[in-house]
Amino acid sequence: MCLAIPGRVVEKRGELARVDFGDGTLREVDVSLVEVEVGQYVIVHAGFAIQVLDEEEARESLRLWQELLSQG
């Protein structure tokens, strides 16, 4: 089937958005299940965005891991 992959919203018109997957692929994605603005990253599965990625949380995870690993 199709995996769920992250991409960046570059344009939005109502329930539809153009999402850039970073490898030169742009796709039209239904964003009605999420609240998203242009510039944010979404997780896209089968033509629908299922969540907005939280960049703050992403950075926080990486920081926490380093901390955890240095404690051994």
Partner: protein
């Protein structure tokens, strides 16, 4: 955007795991986890650390039953346009595959999204049946589409399934001595982390929700190993950038409005209570099983068998590694698959064939 493939951190996690002196058996239920695990060789990095991980029933194409495939075949034979995701087309039922029927002139289309299937209904005016498979990650797209009042010539052959009941069934069956579960990041993006709390309570098992980059998975394993070592039961979330405790509330609401839980069987499993998603009565008009009751009557009461030597049932219950299936890589390959686990890009057998370096063992399993 995110640096989740950093080698140095990966090395440190593996070193940490090695020092723990583990003997762990873990399971996950997600084709994408399996892909990350084998594609990046993490399985081979973890083995010397005493960690074995198997994929359970986490491949929507693989757990779809022979009966469901036969339903789609019956409708394609009767002139309906059957649209579905790519992998589903190649899965052999008892009487052939959708790809085979297409070769004989049936109208079978591969779509990327249910939106494309609705588009086909609008453009062709044909009776279009969307063979809807997938877990909670995919089901919201079907729900939203039905809530939007699709064209009258569009219907859904609903084979969506819920993951938590399958995890409970797996633990109830008790065939494996699984010590911890890696929960699927994208199913969890939709359902949140709460359904796993109940599982933790009831089965006293540690769980970590993990994402799909190599570091996500390694970190998930690391957290899980720590929990097992400390005798900790509960749910931790490694994939916080996508998974919130409450999940995606809009998606869950749409699913609740459209589907009701029913008892269905899964390939390799007996009937799992409340694990199937059936369309509610209000959507009867778009329910292929109701709408084409006459066409599907011929299947009533019949039993459909898979290939007698295929071990997908055991692979899906986490009891067997693909190379230990006697057909793996010899009779069964992605070019001529015998079972769905070799067809689907999320199936253990296909992933092992594509990236794995282990030779088929040739031992009867």
């Amino acid at each position: 955007m995110f640096r989740f493939r950093d080698r140095e951190t990966a090395g440190r996690i593996v070193e940490g795991l090695r020092k723990m002196g583990l003997n762990l058996f873990l399971m996950h239920v997600c084709g994408t986890h399996q892909d990350t695990l084998v594609r990046y060789g993490l399985d081979r990095l973890l083995e010397p650390c005493g960690i074995k991980i198997r994929q359970g029933p986490g491949c929507p194409v693989c757990v779809t039953t022979q009966r469901e495939i036969e339903e789609a075949l019956a409708l394609a034979r009767r002139g309906k346009l059957v649209a579905t995701f790519g992998d589903m087309v190649g899965v052999p039922g008892e009487s052939g595959s959708l790809a085979g029927l297409r070769g004989e002139g049936a109208d079978v289309r591969v779509v990327y999204s249910i939106r494309d299937a609705v588009g086909l209904a609008e453009r062709t005016g044909k009776e279009v049946v969307f063979l809807a498979i997938g877990f909670e990650t995919t089901a919201p797209s079907t729900a939203i589409t039905l809530l939007r009042d699709p064209p009258p010539n569009f219907s859904v052959l609903c084979c969506h399934r819920y993951i938590p009941p399958a995890i409970r069934a797996l633990l109830d069956m008790g065939e494996t001595r699984v010590q911890g579960l890696i929960e699927p990041g994208h199913v969890s993006t939709v359902i949140g982390t709460r359904p796993y709390e109940e599982i933790a309570e009831r089965y006293r098992i540690p769980q970590v929700v993990a994402g799909f980059e190599p570091l996500d998975l390694l970190m998930g394993v690391y957290l899980l190993a720590k929990m097992v070592q400390r005798g900790e039961v509960g749910v931790r979330n490694e994939y916080t950038r996508s998974v919130r405790p409450e999940g995606n509330v809009r998606a869950l609401k749409a699913m609740g409005e459209v589907f009701e839980p029913v008892d269905v069987d899964w390939r390799g499993f007996p009937v799992i209570p409340g694990s199937g998603m059936a369309l509610r009565e209000e959507f009867e008009e778009h329910d292929a099983r109701k709408r084409y009751e006459d066409e599907l009557r011929e299947l009533e009461g019949k039993e459909f068998r898979a290939h007698p030597s295929c071990r997908c049932d055991r692979v899906l219950r986490g009891l067997l590694d693909p190379p230990d299936c006697p057909l793996f890589g010899r009779v069964c390959t992605p070019r001529s698959p015998v079972g769905p686990c070799m067809v689907s890009s999320e199936g253990s057998c296909a992933i092992e064939y594509k990236y794995g370096r282990r030779e088929p063992s040739g031992q009867p399993a």
